[in-house]
Amino acid sequence: MREIQTGSIIEAVKDAAIRANLDLGEDVLRALESGLDRETSPVGKEILAQLLENAKIAREDRIPICQDTGVAVIFAEVGQEVHISGGDFKSALEEGIRLGYEQGYLRKSICHPFTRKNTGDNTPVVVHLDMVPGDRIRIWVVPKGGGSENMSRLFMLAPSAGWTGVKERVVQTVAEAGPNPCPPTIVGVGIGGNFERSAILAKKALLRPLGTENPDPELRPMEHELLEEINKTGVGPQGLGGRITSLAVHVLMMPCHIASLPLAVNIQCHASRHVEVLL
């Protein structure tokens, strides 16, 4: 049994929320630079250069990369041997977000679905909790903006759709989104599971560092094929036309019902923000 105090969870989440919003990950910077090299559209190149400049300003001036500091999504893997003391685990996650968004001058962007009254502290938080072997807690804080999220889609396909149908829907989703999700995007694809699991797979797929290969050899060619098709759409950076519509496509897949082929497409904008902490 290893004891972890909620106090250290709160601090870790607070710190991660601020860092995620101000310091764009090295892998994302490398991907943007690579995009800049490969883009042929002059406007597209200019946009990519400005995005890199923006990341530099944010990091140096300590202000958010984007004013949409997003819904706070948290993936947490809690080891079976961990004993959490000092309070309620989920409340600690929320308190960490509350403090991070206040002390980090991050935008409070959560409201009632109908009255649109702002909750004032960027809670509630969307938590995906898993219990795993071991005595550590691993937390990913993933601020997710509304623009790209609004362009994400979920399809319950008929099994007859097959890989061709999946490919069509993924490319269609990106093409229809056009400029709206702030291209260049990273596309998370979840295949299988069930209605809600496919969506979580799609978002989880976004966490893999850019520029790394999918550890599953079955999924690697799928990712390459989807990326190639997406970049033929010509949407380009900020949808103004170009060859770099998406920087990467990441796929996660799991078995599903014999009557179903669930497909979730979670679009991530170029401000792909996530910080991992290990307690």
Binding site: N54, Q67, S109, N180, T233, L240
Partner: protein, 181 residues
């Protein structure tokens, strides 16, 4: 260009033109547009003038100490499409945001003469550098969604929709699209 904008200012603009805006712009997003529309429908006065003005679709992050504004990049414009044609009819001359507009909005821009310009989405820190003054003018209760009057200097934009109905998103994508055989 300097706000307020006249028809002479915006008629020569074409989709794809890089422009800068200086002067006052008003910020408003979904909730503020809903309230403004309600005021218009009930014949009441608006909290700020529309004639010749520019609305920037933005909800800035809070200003850290020593700064007047946080990050201030554009939000996605299509959500304001239900409201925009009426505002354009009443004299709004420019809109700043990102993402495509509906046919109704584009038609209103042609009919009443207005332009839609894109700021770089996700470049919140960079866009904020152009802001010189910030003042809440209405709906403070909306927090980030309040109507603010910003004084901007050389806010870098690109014309997406002009007064002739051209659309940079459509033209740009067509130029770089590769159709499979």
């Amino acid at each position: 260009m300097q706000t307020p904008l006249s028809v002479q200012d915006i008629e020569p603009l074409r989709a794809g033109d890089p422009v800068t805006i200086s002067g006052y712009v008003y910020t408003a997003r979904d909730a503020a547009h809903a309230r403004l529309t309600e005021l218009i429908q009930s014949g009441k006065g608006l909290p700020f003038p529309l004639e010749g003005q520019v609305i920037y679709y933005v909800g800035p992050s809070p200003a850290p100490p020593g700064r007047i504004i946080g990050a201030a990049g554009p939000t996605t414009s299509y959500r304001m499409d239900p409201y925009a044609p009426r505002l354009i009819q009443l004299g709004l001359k420019g809109m700043i945001g990102k993402g495509r507009r509906s046919q109704e909005v584009k038609d209103a821009m042609v009919k009443y003469k207005a332009v839609y310009m894109a700021a770089i989405g996700g470049a919140g820190a960079l866009m904020a550098k152009a802001v010189r003054e910030v003042q809440v003018v209405a709906y403070e209760d909306l927090g980030p969604e309040a109507v603010r009057r910003l004084k901007v200097e050389n806010l870098p934009l690109i014309v997406v929709n002009d007064t002739l109905g051209n659309d940079l998103y459509l033209e740009g994508q067509k130029k770089y699209q590769i159709r499979s055989a």
